[in-house]
Amino acid sequence: MPKIIVEVMPKEVLLDPAGKSVMNALHRKGHSASKKSDITAVRIGKRIELHFDREITDKDLADAREIGESFLSNGVIEDVVKISSEN
C-alpha cells in the first residue's frame, strides 16, 4: 500500500529519558553481550505512516512535510528527521 513515512526524533540537545531507560535496560540485560557497552546512547522517536489508496505525488510529500513539522512533531522538542515514501 502506498505510504509516506514521517520520522520524528527528540532534539539531540534535549534529554530523552525513554531512550536512556532503554539503554540502561540493555546494559543491565547484557544484551549482545560482547559489545553492549558499544552502544553509547539510545534515542526513541516516532515513525508515522500516512497510508494512501493511490500513488503518492510530490505534492503529497510536500504536504506531509508541512503536517510533519506543524503537527506530527513539536518543533520545540522534536525534529522531523526524514520523510520518505513507498509506493
Partner: protein, 231 residues
Amino acid sequence: MKIGVVTFPGTLDDRDAARAVRLAGGEAVSLWHADTNLHKVDAVVLPGGFSYGDYLRCGAIAAQAPVMESIIKAANGGLPVLGICNGFQVLVESHLLPGGLIRNEHQHFICRDQKLIVESNTTAWTNEFELNQEITIPLKNGEGGYIATDETLKRLEGEGLITFRYKEVNPNGSMNDIAGLRNERGNVVGLMPHPEHAVEPGFGPDTTVAMRSGVDGLKFFTSVINSLVNA
C-alpha cells in the same frame, strides 16, 4: 465571576475544576472543544485528562481544537487562563508557554501528594499565595517531565517565569524542578499538579491535621476571582 472550563473529548477533571470554581465562589461555565464561543467568560481553566487520548503528544491534538483558537486570541489579550496537567500540555503545545512536557523520567505514571514552592505570586492565579509559600497539591501524570533548551531555561529563570517548583521530590525529572510556569503578563499559568483536587476538606491531600484535609488548591481559584474583582 464566570470561569470557563473546557471539555475536550478525553478530558477527565472538568467536573472537578467546575466544582473548584464553585467552591471558590465563582460560576463555572462549560466550554465545548468544538465551539469557538467563549460565552463571555472572565477566565478559562483547561483541566486535566487525556484529551484525544493524548496519543501523538500530550495536548497536541487539543491545541488544534476550535475552542483553542479563541482561547489563544483571548489569552494574548490578557484573559486569565489556567492550564492544569493536560491543560498545561495544551498551553505548551499552543505556544502560550515555552518548552515541552515529556514522559516522566522513571517511565511510570505517578500519583502523589506533592509539595510545591510558589515562586511567583503576581499572576492572576497565584496572587493569594505568599512568595515562597510551601503548598501541597496532588500530582498525577505520566508525561510531566518539563524540558526546554538551556537558552529557554535561562530566560525563564532570569525573567522570573517559573511559578511553581517541586519541593523535596522531583516526581518526573522536570528540568530545574519546574512544576509550573507563567507568561510575562501573568495571565497565563500552567502547572502539572492538580489544584482542583485540593479544594474540599475530606477529598484533598493528607495534612498533619487530618486525613485528606488539604485545601491549598482553592487559592488558585480565589486568586483569579480576586484579580478579576480588582481589575
